[in-house]
């Protein structure tokens, strides 16, 4: 089946720094989503980005589907950005549309 790899696994930043998170996937996909998981476990939708570039405030994402990777950029990081960031690719398997998640990047932003 399709493999999703995220890097780095862990990242520690000082408040105000910028960062780039990467997601590589092993086969073509129909869709890609980025999530932020807060300390209570809720997955917050950041981007729905099968291809191209999108921006939302200090966050932006780029997916290059032909090269099978996506990048999440966080600028001017804040302590509230801390948590786990997941990349998930959407695939159709028979009559099912499901998400396959990477292992996540754990981000800690220090004041």
């Amino acid at each position: 089946g399709i493999q999703v790899e995220q890097s780095p696994p862990d990242l520690i930043l000082q408040e105000g720094a910028n960062s780039t998170l990467r997601c590589n996937f092993s086969d073509s996909v129909n869709n890609l989503q980025w999530f932020h998981q807060n300390p209570w476990g809720q997955l917050i939708n950041l981007f729905y980005i099968p291809s191209g570039t999108k921006q939302n405030g200090r966050l932006s994402a780029t997916t290059v589907a032909t090269e099978r990777y996506s990048l999440l950029y966080i600028s001017s990081s804040q302590t509230t950005d801390s948590g786990v960031y997941f990349c998930a690719v959407a695939v159709r398997s028979g009559n099912t549309g499901k998400l396959i998640f990477g292992q996540g990047t754990t981000l800690q932003v220090k004041p």
Partner: protein, 114 residues
């Protein structure tokens, strides 16, 4: 508009018991999917339901079952609980079943099996 809701928030069960978890999708969404997230890993797909029918199942034993009701809410049932079933169970809703539709997650149910 309300997002995806799940109940209960937390649950503690003993090995061998049975558990039922509940999910209500976003209004207008007809597809519900269930995911299991064990500590330190990404969520893993368990089931997808659309229009009350099972569309697909992940690599989980038959102890796991689910159903979807006419109002599109869903239940996940797990029988004969094992310690390894301890996890965060996440429900996701989407407009329809296909992978092109964005999925939105509920807050999860944290199950502890002792």
């Amino acid at each position: 508009d309300a997002g995806v809701t799940q109940s209960p928030t937390h649950l503690i069960k003993t090995r061998g018991q049975h558990v039922t978890l509940r999910c209500s999708p976003i209004s207008g969404h007809k597809s519900v999917s269930w995911y299991q997230q064990v500590l330190g890993q990404g969520p893993q797909f368990i089931f997808q339901y659309y229009e009350k029918e099972e569309r697909g199942r992940g690599n989980f034993p038959d102890r796991f079952s689910a159903r979807q009701f006419p109002n599109y809410s869903s239940e996940l049932n797990v029988n004969a609980l094992l310690l390894g079933d301890s996890a965060l169970y996440l429900c996701a809703s989407s407009l329809a079943w296909d992978s092109y539709y964005e999925q939105y997650f509920g807050p999860g149910t944290r199950l502890t099996v002792t």
